[in-house]
Subunit: 410 residues, 2 copies
Amino acid sequence: MRGPEISSARLLDWVADLGRIGALPGGGVCRLALTDTDRAGRDWLVAQMEALGLTVSIDAIGNIWGLRKGLVEGAPVMMGSHIDTVATGGLYDGALGVLAGLEVIAALNEAGITTHTPLAVAAFTNEEGARFAPDMMGSGVYMGALDREEMLATVATDGSAVFGEELDRIGYHGGDTPVTPAAYLELHIEQGPVLEREGVRVGAVTGVQGISWTEYTIKGQSNHAGTTPMALRHDAGVVAAKIALAAHEIAADLGPPQVATVGVFELSPALVNVVPEKARLTVDLRNTDNELLKQAEARLQSAAEDAATAHGCTLARRSLARFDPVAFAPQVIDRVEAAATARQLSVKRMPSGAGHDAQMFAPACPTAMIFVPSKDGLSHNINEHTEAQDLVAGAQVLLDVVLDLAGGKS
Amino acid sequence: MRGPEISSARLLDWVADLGRIGALPGGGVCRLALTDTDRAGRDWLVAQMEALGLTVSIDAIGNIWGLRKGLVEGAPVMMGSHIDTVATGGLYDGALGVLAGLEVIAALNEAGITTHTPLAVAAFTNEEGARFAPDMMGSGVYMGALDREEMLATVATDGSAVFGEELDRIGYHGGDTPVTPAAYLELHIEQGPVLEREGVRVGAVTGVQGISWTEYTIKGQSNHAGTTPMALRHDAGVVAAKIALAAHEIAADLGPPQVATVGVFELSPALVNVVPEKARLTVDLRNTDNELLKQAEARLQSAAEDAATAHGCTLARRSLARFDPVAFAPQVIDRVEAAATARQLSVKRMPSGAGHDAQMFAPACPTAMIFVPSKDGLSHNINEHTEAQDLVAGAQVLLDVVLDLAGGKS
């Protein structure tokens, strides 16, 4: 007896139903936070929760959660994610974690199971940060990492709206008080290529990589590309190119899971025949080990200073973002791994390279995530895709781990 | 007896007089080709030529030249340059060569010298190419390297005017027939830092560097900076950075006069946390030796292909410009060197890194250039500056070489 089973038909119907709200003509969806389509998605979600018998709460930042009573009172085991998307989002990023939570409740209802500990399904406001920065806003406020009043005053990235006013407008400025869960679980698509590439069905996520974003600005001297001998130049662009390659060499040298990305690289005045006076580049470094991440940062800085000195340029460094790695709870990771194995699903321990609502819960309660494969590693893209069998497998592992954590038998 | 002397007062007055036409509030001048200020500069120049007794001609592309009879008939020894400027130009780029030509005529008039060969002072239309491309348009048409009708049909870079119509409008669409000179000499500011840095007064220019402009476009794959392991990336930006550094390594390896400049370097989508899908960069390679320039181009292409292959990216190459090096006439270079030495001016043989009208004459007649120092190597800049004593020294060398070539005694 392996316990209750997920209904693949019901889960896939829900994915399709929510996916129709904000559907884009060419596929994918646009449900930017606090827009009318986000409201429509929220209304749909609340209706589903109520139909499943959950008690719906909404807090002052617009987070929605539905509670299912357990045999005892107390903090619930929470399943959560988000239903907002980027402007050209897919059907699964965020939505899967919320809809699988609904499906877990539905499967338990159908099997007549009441868990020992209460359960909750949550959808957090503005995880994407696409319309209002920062991202993970709802879960950050929920767990106290972000200031609620400050977030309510946030102006949209296009300057067109204020967060709190939009929240009022769509009718989701609630007053319920968040509760710290007994445990937190989030099913999510990987948004990377690893599971698909290795043919593994389930990722037991060990934590979220630490992130270090640095902007370097190099100032040299603008000179004529023909009349200035190499030895008399102060070429800001060469310094920038050396920093970019140093970042990649550091990542190669430290090995996985260290990654390094130079996403922005600009020269000024940007003319074919003028030695660049100024260069600006960004370096995104990530590692699950904070000591290794610090080592990568220090080595990058040293390489940047050496390059600037060698070319007689000045170097300015600005930190754009810095988050320590988040480690998930070993006992929950173990249970994810065990649950997948018990269902004969291949499983791999892996870090998350992207940020998720789960990281806001990790400091306060036992937390972990379950990943399922993303076709071609694509996400934040209308072609984002996860095979139906993988959606179902992930939801089944979620159900099994929730039952394990909350205590309950059929 | 060292022959006739330049009048520094007269030369500097002329520099100041022409510099007032199109003067910018903060210094420098703007006499873009075929504008009203260019016309005012031309009118002033023609008046000076006529006052010096020169016979003024204007051809169908607007070139102006003033002829001074010699003891015999025939092709003149020509001194020339241009009086158009870039939008934020200096007082010397181009103007010096024309005004020094006037001063040579004035000094000869004053000394009562008639040369054996006739002399000419020329100002060529649109050398800068700032308002209408290409540059060196007037001298190119004069010597048959560019097609006159095609040039007359050129539309301004801002789309606002047609070359031929502007030439008519300012009244410089002449009908005189260009004559190939017996020899061509051009005094010009260096527009680079070499003479000043080495404390040398005069450059005996050996030729103009060959120029190779290449644009590389690299296509990789856009990926999430956190979720995509290094080994699974196709990072167009890394390929571009490797090409940029390869260009500099090739220049370092070949040594002077090889130079390499990466002036444009763009990534797309240019987001901090997205692996660049596309990169575009330009490489400007220059050398006086065409075989070495070809070698540099071949090595760059090979490095670019290797980098693209290593990262699984595609590479597209587009040649934006390719000019063979121009060699000036050894016997004229020798005379420039000898004249400077005779005047106790330190002199250095050097290539020109920038293009000049002189290169249009080099294939057809004995040609050379004389360089004088540019403060901080600045040009195409309102702070362009050459010390008065250097302006005078350059004009004196021009006078001495012209007398040497044209034959004439006081």
